[in-house]
């Protein structure tokens, strides 16, 4: 494929367990929510990796682990070959420059008492060597221009902007330190459809112009397909299937991916009643007590007794040309069967 130096981000067996404790004075650990449970991802320069999954699958925890907002229970996050989990203090702060985050809700992720200039310029205060203080205002204005906002609005407050414009502010803040990697956690979910397209197009343009790599986390499979080169599907803290977008969307092999894709409504009434609908029973089990063996088996129509005892590894299989964590992986095109 491409050579190793292209690899900008890699995780190795990344695990995050949140302890469940009992007692007030003497706390004892009675269990753990296994939010992220052994995740390996790789991201190359200029590439977008989409991560999809339903609420509670651990995708947002994964995002926090990647940018160092959470300490992993075990495993490694390698940014440009440097292990983020081993760093601390000054060297951690330096390494973090390279990986920034865009958050979901542009209403709560911007401080209402700070001006746009202060919000976007704050990274320069934390990293004074990035831009000399005298040039900070100039740099902020350039960033505003870059994301399509009026540079003269530097002294306005967040409430004076619309939702789409606020998300642009969030993106400008993430770009301030010229990172190579941006982790976008549901960046367009809170926006209306007509505004969503503006922000998606902006992210695509920035990627082309600045050579950025994106981790794009979302629950909307249509948006993820649009923007991603490769896609990883998560279920209960694990990646169950991963591959290029064509492989995942046109030739899904894991039953969960198939069910997820078949449930997404397509805006074309001609397909009504002609698509392959897989309706899953029940809800996602609790990540504090995931099923043994394959975690999806409690909702899977293909499950056999074997699945309860043997955890399927994420690997290329006989009937799956891309990695799939199912013993009975088999291609089933659920989008085009009409």
């Amino acid at each position: 494929m491409s050579d190793v130096s292209d690899l900008v981000l890699e995780t190795r067996n990344l695990v995050k367990h949140f302890p469940i404790t009992q007692g007030i004075v003497v706390k004892s650990k009675v269990g753990a929510v296994r939010a992220v449970d052994g995740v390996d991802i790789q991201l190359r320069r200029g590439e977008t990796l989409g991560i999809v999954g339903e609420s509670g699958c651990g995708k947002s925890t994964l995002a926090k682990l990647l940018v160092g907002l959470e300490k992993p229970t075990s495993g490694e996050v390698m940014v440009r070959g440097e292990n983020m989990t081993r760093l601390s203090g000054h060297s951690l702060r330096r390494a973090r420059r390279n990986i920034q985050m865009v958050l979901q809700d542009p209403y709560t992720s911007l401080n209402p008492r700070m001006t746009v200039g202060d919000i976007i310029g704050e990274p320069f205060e934390i990293h004074p060597d990035a831009v000399p203080p005298a040039g900070a205002a100039r740099a902020v204005q350039e960033l505003l221009d870059l994301v399509g906002l009026n540079p003269d609005h530097i002294n306005r407050y967040p409430h004076q902007f619309s939702g789409g414009q606020r998300q642009r502010i969030g993106i400008a803040r993430a770009l301030a330190l010229r990172p190579e990697i941006i982790v976008c956690d549901e960046p367009v979910s809170a926006l209306d459809v007509s505004i969503q397209a503006q922000v998606i197009n902006l992210l695509e343009r920035l990627q082309r112009e600045l050579g950025l790599s994106y981790i794009f986390i979302a629950h909307d499979l249509s948006v993820v397909r649009h923007i991603s080169d490769r896609v990883a599907v998560m279920y209960l803290g694990k990646i169950v299937e991963t591959g290029y977008h064509m492989a995942i969307y046109e030739q899904p092999t894991h039953p969960y991916t198939q069910a997820l894709l078949s449930a997404v409504p397509v805006p074309d009434p001609r397909l009504r009643g002609r698509r392959d609908h897989i309706v899953l029973d029940g809800d996602v089990p609790s990540p504090a007590d995931p099923p043994s063996g394959c975690r999806f088996r409690t909702r899977c129509w293909k499950a056999q007794p074997y699945c309860a005892d043997h955890e399927p590894l994420l690997q290329i299989r006989q009937r799956s040309t891309h990695p799939s964590a199912c013993h009975y992986a088999e291609i089933r095109d659920v989008i085009h069967r009409y």
Binding site: E54, S55, S162, G164, D192, V193, S194, I195, Q196, A197, Q198, I200, N201, H219, L221, S222, V223, R225, H226, I227, H245, Y249, A259, L260, L261, S262, A263, V264, P265, V266, P267, D268, P269, R270, L271, R272, H277, V279, L280, D283, V284, I335, H336
Partner: protein
């Protein structure tokens, strides 16, 4: 049986009720919010109708007035600040806006019911689900506690809540999101309404759960031949379930059409732009079309066509003259001066 005739008698009291009149007709509805910052015109002449057994989608972005319209139909707007300044809401020929509060209450839940987006905040957290459901039967139907509980269990069974008899005493927080939405549907259907208004019923849910809930709604609607108004911003969900679509923009229905016609041949520039701006699961590599700018502030809606500042087809006439509702085909209308150009004929 006695209970049923009681209700029949009660409903006959509704003045002017004509069983042969159309099920629901919203006619030139105007709603405004009078606030300290000015008057926000949320609904400006909304117009649509609904037949029994039919699904009408009210589609639009935040602030287009779709939820306010639904709340006006239900009679649950907070007045003040909201004021209905004009129009009629005709249910079987009866103008609901002119009814006394007492008569209105008979219509609500009995004839027209509603489910909301966020089931957790729509249900009362300090009462068990069973109590909240039984209350409906006791207040509206005069049932005993025991009968009411029995009916509630049957209803929960109908919306396929597993082990309904055991779960009836659980509190809302003990249910998952999808299950809570099922409870809400059960409550809305408890008194056999003829019209169900679903305000973004699946927006807060995951896709696999969304598919379950939409399937359930469609099935219950078929069984009961109920009219369903589906309020949503999701053009995908609409394509799957709706019979007709009304697209709202700045408090008006700008286009209304049967679902099969609108996706292939939109007649209003806004509808067309919306369809071109959504990413699709089955297509990739297409550049997304962007609708420039923002929807107008409701306190300051531009003269003429409200979509004009964002519209690629706009000409000077659009700023002077508000486009009337042009009829394109039997069931199709669109409010645009340049329909022929948009349709490409």
């Amino acid at each position: 049986m006695i209970v049923v005739t009681d209700i029949q008698a009660q409903m006959d009291v509704l003045p002017g009720l004509d069983p042969r009149a159309p099920l629901l007709h919203v006619d030139d509805l105007h709603v405004e919010f009078r606030t300290r910052d000015g008057v926000a015109k949320a609904v400006n002449g909304a117009e649509f109708y609904l037949n029994p057994g039919e699904t009408l989608a009210l589609l639009g972005e935040s602030g287009c007035g779709k939820s306010v319209t639904a709340q006006a139909v239900m009679g649950i707007l907070d007045t003040p600040p909201a004021h209905i300044t004009g129009g009629r809401v005709l249910y079987r020929g009866v103008d609901l806006l002119r009814l006394t509060e007492e008569d209105r209450r008979k219509v609500r839940a009995n004839r027209i019911a509603m489910i909301f987006q966020d089931a957790l905040s729509a249900l009362n957290p300090v009462y068990s689900v069973g109590f909240q459901m039984a209350e409906l039967f006791r207040k509206h139907r005069g049932m005993s506690r025991k009968d009411a509980k029995q009916r509630s269990i049957e209803l929960l069974d109908q919306v396929r809540i597993p082990a309904a008899r055991e779960r009836i005493n659980d509190y809302p927080h003990q249910f998952s999101g999808g299950m809570r939405q099922r409870v809400m549907i059960a409550m809305a259907l408890a008194l056999d309404p003829e019209v169900l208004i679903a305000d973004e019923p699946t927006t807060a849910l995951d896709v696999t759960v969304q598919a379950q809930i939409m399937g359930l709604l469609a099935e219950l609607q078929r069984q009961r031949n109920m009219g369903l108004i589906l309020i949503t911003h999701d053009m995908g969900v609409v394509a799957d379930v709706a019979d007709r679509i009304s697209i709202m923009y700045a408090g008006k229905v700008v286009e209304e059409a049967p679902v099969h016609e609108i996706y292939g041949r939109p007649a209003h520039p806004y509808t067309k732009a919306l369809l071109e701006s959504i990413p699709r699961l089955d297509l990739k590599g297409r550049q997304l079309n962007v609708i420039p700018g923002l929807p107008p502030a409701l306190t300051d809606i531009p003269a003429g066509c409200p979509f004009r500042p964002r519209c690629g087809y706009a000409r000077p006439v659009c700023g002077q003259q508000e486009p009337p509702a042009y009829r394109i085909a039997q069931h199709r209308i669109a409010r645009c001066h340049f329909i022929r150009e948009v349709l490409g004929v």
